[in-house]
C-alpha cells in the first residue's frame, strides 16, 4: 500500500497555483499577490496517506481547501479518479475538479471531506454536537432522524467521546479543545468519504490521546480505504501517519519521498534543517524550532529564484541567478527541487 501512487491515482494534482490578491484600494486592480500555492504537483493513491509538512503560512491549508473545492485554483488542475461505486449516488471514474458543479458538487462532498484546522472556529457556537456531526447527513438527505442519531452516536463512540449520550447535545463551548477536535474528525468521517484532507487534526490533543486518534484514523483508513492528505507542521506526526511525505516551503513542494526514505536520506537543505531539529526517534517529543537562517517571510510577489534562497545555508550564485529549481527524481520516488541536492 505504501509507495507513490501509480497511474490509477485517486487524486492527481498538476501545477496547482493559488494567488491571493492584496487589496489595492476600491476600484483599482490589485497589483500584488500572495503566492500561497505555487505550481504544486503530486499524486495520491486510494487508501494512501500523504503528509504535507511545512512551517506556518507555507500554504498547506490552501492546498487542502483547493482539493476539497472550498477554493478555486488560479492555475493548474486537480483530477479525481473514483473507483466504480458499489452503490449509487457517488461520482465514478475520472473527473476534473474544475467541472464539478451544482448537484455533482454535493455528491462530491460525500466522497471528499476535510477536517478543519481550528476546532474553535469551525463549529457553529449555537449548534449542538449532534447538529454539527449530522450536518453532512442532513444536507445530503441521508436517513431519518433516528438513523442519523444512531450514526452520530456510533461515530462519537468511535472517536472516543463516550458515552455518546453525554456529548450529543453539548455545545462547542462545553467541550475542551481535544474534544472539539474529535468532533471535527467525526464530522468529516460520518458520511464515509474515500478521501479526507486532515488539517492538523490532532494539534490540540494531549500526547496520549493523540496517539489514540492517530491510530484510529489509520485503522479507519485501512478498514474503509480512506486516503488522507495529512497536513501537519510536525514531521514526527507525519512519520507516524503517512506513507509518503511532501515538504512545503512558501507555496512550493521542495521535497517528496516515501516516509522512511525522506527521513533517512533528506536531500533538500530545508528538509535537513527540519530534521536536524528532530533529535529523537520518539515521535511524541516536543522539538525546538529548526535551525535555519532568519524567519519565514510572506510570499508576496516573490522573486523568481529559489524560494529558500534567503535562508539557505548552501546557496550558490546559480541559485541567485536561476529560476526556482524544477523538481527532479533523484532516487526512485524521491523528488527534490534544489540545484545543489
Amino acid at each position: 500500500m505504501s509507495g507513490p501512487a501509480g497511474g490509477d491515482a485517486l487524486v492527481t494534482v498538476d501545477g496547482l497555483t493559488k494567488r491571493f490578491p492584496i487589496a489595492a484600494g476600491m476600484f483599482r486592480k490589485p497589483t500584488s499577490f500572495i503566492h500561497a500555492v505555487d505550481d504544486v504537483s503530486f499524486r495520491l493513491g486510494s487508501g494512501e496517506s500523504l503528509g504535507l509538512v511545512g512551517e506556518s503560512g507555507c500554504g498547506k491549508t490552501t492546498v487542502g481547501k483547493l482539493l476539497v473545492k472550498l477554493q478555486e485554483p488560479t492555475e493548474g488542475s486537480i483530477t479525481y479518479r473514483f473507483p466504480a461505486p458499489s452503490t449509487g449516488g457517488h461520482l465514478a471514474g475520472s473527473v476534473d475538479a474544475a467541472n464539478i458543479k451544482g448537484r455533482q458538487l454535493r455528491v462530491f462532498r460525500r466522497q471528499v471531506q476535510m477536517i478543519f484546522q481550528d476546532p474553535y472556529e469551525s463549529m457553529n457556537p449555537r449548534r449542538a454536537v449532534y447538529d454539527t456531526i449530522a450536518e453532512p447527513l442532513l444536507v445530503q438527505g441521508i436517513g431519518d432522524v433516528q438513523d442519523r442519531l444512531d450514526r452520530v452516536s456510533e461515530i462519537l463512540n468511535l472517536v472516543g467521546l463516550t458515552p455518546a449520550g453525554a456529548f450529543l447535545f453539548r455545545r462547542p463551548h462545553e467541550l475542551s479543545g481535544g474534544q472539539r477536535q474529535r468532533v471535527a474528525i467525526a464530522r468529516a468521517l460520518v458520511i464515509g468519504p474515500s478521501f479526507v484532507v486532515a488539517d492538523e487534526p490532532t494539534s490540540m490533543l494531549d500526547v496520549s490521546s493523540r496517539t489514540g486518534i492517530m491510530s484510529l484514523m489509520q485503522e479507519l483508513a485501512d478498514r474503509l480505504g480512506i486516503a488522507y492528505l495529512y497536513i501537519t507542521h510536525d514531521l514526527a506526526v507525519a512519520r507516524y501517519m503517512c506513507h509518503r511525505i511532501a515538504v512545503m516551503y512558501l507555496g512550493k513542494i521542495v521535497e517528496m519521498a516515501e516516509t522512511e526514505e525522506l527521513l533517512r536520506n533528506p536531500l533538500h537543505p530545508y528538509t535537513r534543517a527540519l530534521l536536524s531539529a528532530v533529535p529523537s526517534p520518539d515521535p511524541m517529543r516536543r522539538r525546538d524550532p529548526p535551525d535555519i537562517l532568519g524567519d519565514l517571510s510572506l510570499p508576496v510577489d516573490p522573486p523568481p529564484r529559489c524560494r529558500f534562497y534567503e535562508r539557505c545555508p548552501m546557496a550558490t550564485d546559480r541559485c541567485a541567478a536561476d529560476v526556482h529549481p524544477p523538481s527532479e527524481e533523484k532516487a526512485p520516488g524521491h523528488w527534490v527541487a534544489c540545484y545543489e541536492a
Binding site: L105, E135, Q146, F169
Partner: protein, 338 residues
Amino acid sequence: MIERPPNQPPTAGEGSSLFGDVPEIDLSRGRVDLALVRLRLAWRTLRDGWSIFVESRIGLLSLAIIGVFALMAFSHPLLMATVWTPDVYDPVTGYAFDQFDHPASPTWRHPLGTDSLGRDILSQLLFSARSEFILGITAALVTVGIATTVGAVAAYYGGLVDSLLMRLADLIIALPGISLLIVLSALFSLNLFYLALIIGVLGGFGGTAIILKSQALSIRVKPYIEAARAAGGGHFHVIFVHIIPNLLPLSLLYMMFTVTGAIFAEAVLSFLGLLDIRMSWGIMIHTANVGGYLLGGTEYWWLIVPAGASITLLCSAFYLVGRALDEVVNPRLRRHDG
C-alpha cells in the same frame, strides 16, 4: 499537555461545573425525542441569557413597566365586559352623564377624569395601551424580518445584490423619517396596521438592515460557514441554518428599538391629527390640544399627563430593555461601562 493557539482565550465551559445540566441522553432506551431535547437546549439558552439580563437593574425595571402596560391592555376588555357600561365608558363613543361640565376632574367613578367630549380618560388610556403594543410589535416584527433577511442575503452574496440593497438602505436613511411619515399620512388615510407596516418596511430596508449586514459579514467569514459548505450545504442552508440564527440575538435587540420608534412616531402623527385611528395616546393629547387645553397650564393636567407619561414610559422601557439585552447579546461589552 493541551496546546491552544495563543490568541484563544479559555472559553467558558472548560470547568466541569457548567457541564452539570447538559442534556444527557440515555441511548439504550430506544427512541430519543429530538424535539424535547431541543426544547431543553433552548430553555437553557434562555435561562443563561436571563441570568445576564437580570444583572441590569434598569432592564428589569423596564421589563416590569412593560408588564404593567401589558396588564393595562388586557384589563380594558375585561372592565368593559364587567363593570364599565359601554355607553358611558366606551373610549370613543362613551359619555359621562354623571358630570355636568367636561372636561371633568377626577372623581371616584372617573379616576382620571373625562375629556372635553365627556369620555372617560382611564378607559381611553387602557384601550390605547393595546393599540400601542399591536403597533409596536407589528412594526418590530416586520422590521426585523426584513432586516435580518436583507442583511444576511447582502452579506452572503455580496456583489451586485449587496450593492443594490445597500444603496436602497442609504436612500431610506437619507429620507427624513418622521417628515416622510407625515407626508404619507397626509396623502393616504393610514390606520394603525398600515402605519406599522410602513414603519416596519422603512426600518427593515433602512438602518437596521445595515447593522445586521455588518454583523452577518463577520459571521460569513467564520470557518464554520466553510465547514457547512464542505458538508454539502447549499446557499439556502448556510443562510438560514448558520447565518440567520447567529443574527437573531442582535435582531431581537433592534426589535426593542423599533418598538420605541414606532410608538413615538404614532404619537407624533396622531398629535398632528394625521392618522385614521379611533383612539391612542397621541389622539388623547391631540384632543386636548384641539380643545385649547394644552396651554392651560396644570389646570387640566389629567388631559395630558396620563397619555404623555404613558408614551414616555413605554418608549423608554422598550429602549432600556434593548440596552439591557445588548449586554446579553454582546457580552464582551459587559462590565466596561459600569
